[in-house]
Symmetry: C2
Subunit: 630 residues, 2 copies
Amino acid sequence: MTGVKRKKNNVVWRKINSFHCADFKQWCLRRLPILEWAPCYNLKENLIPDTVSGIMLAVQQVTQGLAFAILSSVHPVFGLYGSLFPAIIYAIFGMGRHVATGTFALTSLISANAVERLVPQTSQNFTTYSNSGVLGLSDFEMQRIGVAAAVSFLGGIIQIAMFVLQLGSATFLLTEPVISAMTTGAATHVVTSQVKYLLGMKMPYISGPLGFFYIYAYVFENIKSVQLEALLLSLLSIVVLVLVKELNEQFKRKIKVVLPVDLVLIIAASFACYFANMEYTYGLDVVGHIPDGIPSPKAPSMNILSEVVTEAFGVALVGYVASLALAQGSAKKFKYSVDDNQEFLAHGLSNVIPSFFFCIPSAAAMGRTAGLYSTGSKTQCVLASIIVVGLKGMLIQFRDLKKYWNVDKIDWSIWVSTYIFTICFAANVGLLFGVVCTIAVVIARFPRAKTLNLTNLNEMEYKVKTEVEGESLQQVKIISINNPLVFLNAKKFHADLMNTIQKENANNQPPDDINKCEQNTLLNSTSNGTCNGETPQPYPNEKCSVILDCIGLTFFDYTGVSTLVQVYMDFKSQNIDFLLANCTASLKKAVQYCGHLESDKHIFFESVSAAIGAIHLNKNLSKFSDHSEV
Amino acid sequence: MTGVKRKKNNVVWRKINSFHCADFKQWCLRRLPILEWAPCYNLKENLIPDTVSGIMLAVQQVTQGLAFAILSSVHPVFGLYGSLFPAIIYAIFGMGRHVATGTFALTSLISANAVERLVPQTSQNFTTYSNSGVLGLSDFEMQRIGVAAAVSFLGGIIQIAMFVLQLGSATFLLTEPVISAMTTGAATHVVTSQVKYLLGMKMPYISGPLGFFYIYAYVFENIKSVQLEALLLSLLSIVVLVLVKELNEQFKRKIKVVLPVDLVLIIAASFACYFANMEYTYGLDVVGHIPDGIPSPKAPSMNILSEVVTEAFGVALVGYVASLALAQGSAKKFKYSVDDNQEFLAHGLSNVIPSFFFCIPSAAAMGRTAGLYSTGSKTQCVLASIIVVGLKGMLIQFRDLKKYWNVDKIDWSIWVSTYIFTICFAANVGLLFGVVCTIAVVIARFPRAKTLNLTNLNEMEYKVKTEVEGESLQQVKIISINNPLVFLNAKKFHADLMNTIQKENANNQPPDDINKCEQNTLLNSTSNGTCNGETPQPYPNEKCSVILDCIGLTFFDYTGVSTLVQVYMDFKSQNIDFLLANCTASLKKAVQYCGHLESDKHIFFESVSAAIGAIHLNKNLSKFSDHSEV
């Protein structure tokens, strides 16, 4: 007996085991998209074009890294690491095939907030280059990257937690207008942060709520300290960059490789800067300090994690949202799919692991949109111009406003208010506001939306009338409900239904009131109403049936069901038959239970035609047997 | 010229004036419902029964007032004022005709929280009866009622503010399960607060989060200090009260006036207590202190308002919600309507004005449900029994659980979780949780609900096929959407539509693939597909049209419209015609703008039949002119 049992157990166990194995393999494949595409990679066809675009991307990533490291208030060298590690990890775990993960303007700005708050830049720090640190850098710089890495680490942990909680499935709450407004607002913040460099002004680091306005207030107060040569260089850089960007777009269509234009630009910019010989010399020359190989890993300082929670949330949410929008955009364009949850994992790991290698927070940025291919420029105001022009793709989303206005005014207002919130506070506050706003709008729109299909009513009613006409004048109304029936629209449904019935009755009755009445009492002596309105029923002179087609009732809650029962009771008191067609089993059960209608099973019908047939039959029966069944 | 202008202005002014006057009169009528019903009051018919039930109600109100004043931790005499003033004010402003406003168990318990926190009961306070106060009461009692009045005042102000903000229209968010769970939870709190009296235990005042559990922990720790005589008296009282309540219900059906039973009970209870001669003598004998007339008004202490904000919000929300549920219940029963906003005003004023007359917070309680008609009992444990039995109507809502379980499991879980939150924290926390939960559930249900009407598809498709069959084999699919198309279900809509089309094609194509293909290429040489699948289109051998009936599309947002455009593009790339029928003007405009389809006006049709006609015509045209129009 035990042997048999053991054997059985063994079989079961093997089954479970094999099931688990297959399951685990499946799970791995889903979690490591690289295993899916790498074995099918066509070396012959794709290697050369991919290598070329890889090199182009590398140039772009490196120059972007420098710019965004400075934006993050850390030493430029860390931008290089930040361009390398996340890209490798995202390639393994990520699903967006046209998405380059690396340093990102919006997350850089958010982490700069933490860096400047915890390790503020004092004048003595700035001047003393003690070079005592690990990578030949000052303690001050090491402290700063420590904070940025901590933000990256905690942000990544938050993203992984969201993956574990499967919150990726909640991304449908992030509508296009909200994402567009949030990224535009964040881009506006980044531009604002660069204004001091563009104008060559010295300005304290300003942040916090309404910091946006304080920055511009400061600029206008100190408008005289603007350095004209910086302003001119900025304008020149911006013009050149925009032009080159346009040229790039032009060339991209004609020849596949745009590398030459980039190299030309870099060389030209370097020469120009060299000859112009300006006073700031902060940029590329520092990059000479880069040690060979990769730095030895070092855990980010865990003791400051609690102080960077706000920024970590900002990095986690803003980075994820902006990246997802890009990944989904490219997925739509090139017809593959992106798993929202997997992206949480990929970005989480791209933040956590690199944070041990002195990396700043990362996110995905498509080559085309963020950051130009340029730089090599040695002054901050040229770097600032590069950052600003790199955000062109985001800032240009202002154009979407016209589209939203024409498509849906409410979405337009959500865009505007989310943008304002992002500007006044921060990107994550704006995002939260936008989501809450979107939900509130849907909730508020529901109770006003029509719940019944009136056209169907008219068309079908006609059909039924012609069918039944010969026999009696009993009116059959077929109404279909085309909504879920929940607390949001239950009241409206009740009112709509009552209005429809009353309006129909008012329209139909007056002209041939007496005729109908006579005919009716002749034919249908069972409806216990006389013509003179002595009975309390509003429609005493005509027996009426209403069939509610529930095919469009997608889901319901308690309020909806109790409204349905309420309608049934109201109709019953008015001597109107109320039949339900196409109910799901759960709806049937709920209505029966809620209205104590266990015995009244004849109100549910499989289809509208079955319900009509039943009315027909009942009619005939009542004609013969004088038995009224309500 | 100026004369004419002035004349014109005069006319306009008079018009505005008369409009304003009529408007103002209308507004007054709406805001003072007493003006509506008082003039029509039928003295002859209603005066005697109303006087009788008024006296009954007065007895009930007074005895309730005593019990709830003690529950509020204030002197019992204030319960009498609290029964009088709010009732008068609600009669003027309120719309619930079967609702008696006065002291209320749930609001009393909430204000007790503020009273006990700000004016804690020390032993010396309890023993010294200095009688130095205004109404012949001690300073301690005056301080306590000051706090309760302040809670009432601020709660009323909050309710009036909600009236001004027209938040009454948001009450559809308060579903029956949430209100039921919240009131049941609050009733459980009240019962818990009375446990010490029921058991005759001395217990410190315990409140705050999880206070519920601390109270029972305390009871079990000190289970030995339970006074048996108190326990027995409590049980006896509860049994008597429940029995009398049942008898009352029985008598109510037979004779209209239930007064005798009440008087009998009061006298019996008084005699019993007198003979039992127990140690506590706190109840009715104190009422002897009542001064003649009404007390002179005194503003509640404004300096403590900021300290009672939490309790004021609790009183405002819980009082309003519980009262509204009762008012709507009676309105439904007796077929009149209650304005949600007006109720905010009525309850706000019923709290603010009485707060100047030493009243505790008030709310509506229907005679039948809250508080028994009884008392006259002199011991606290009898009063506690009265309070507990008075809550029977609320506690009995536990029975609803079974109903919710059978109707909708999700509403059941909302009930349970709201109840738990109310028990663990407070009634307003539970209410907030319940509302957020309800919204979250609807939001989460939407993306899973089906969006298309498949039955319609099948039925109508058949019809169309038979019509067109003679001419060609072009498939026309009619699909109706029966939902708003918003960000919540846009993705599902897209997937559903694609699945339906692909499934239909998969079902239809295999059997007569070659035949169709031959026929098709003969008839429709324009569809640039050959039979061997060399072209990228998935359905190259059959031209297919899809008509989307938008009659059920009640509203849309940007995400919905862009999904619709996406579907159009997808179909276009698969060489499928996509026609929209029954679009509203705004939807038409939005789709045209969003998809840059200003020129493609022939995708919109007035009705499904118009769209079918157009396909028909187009077919014939293409047969002759060989001109493909996608």
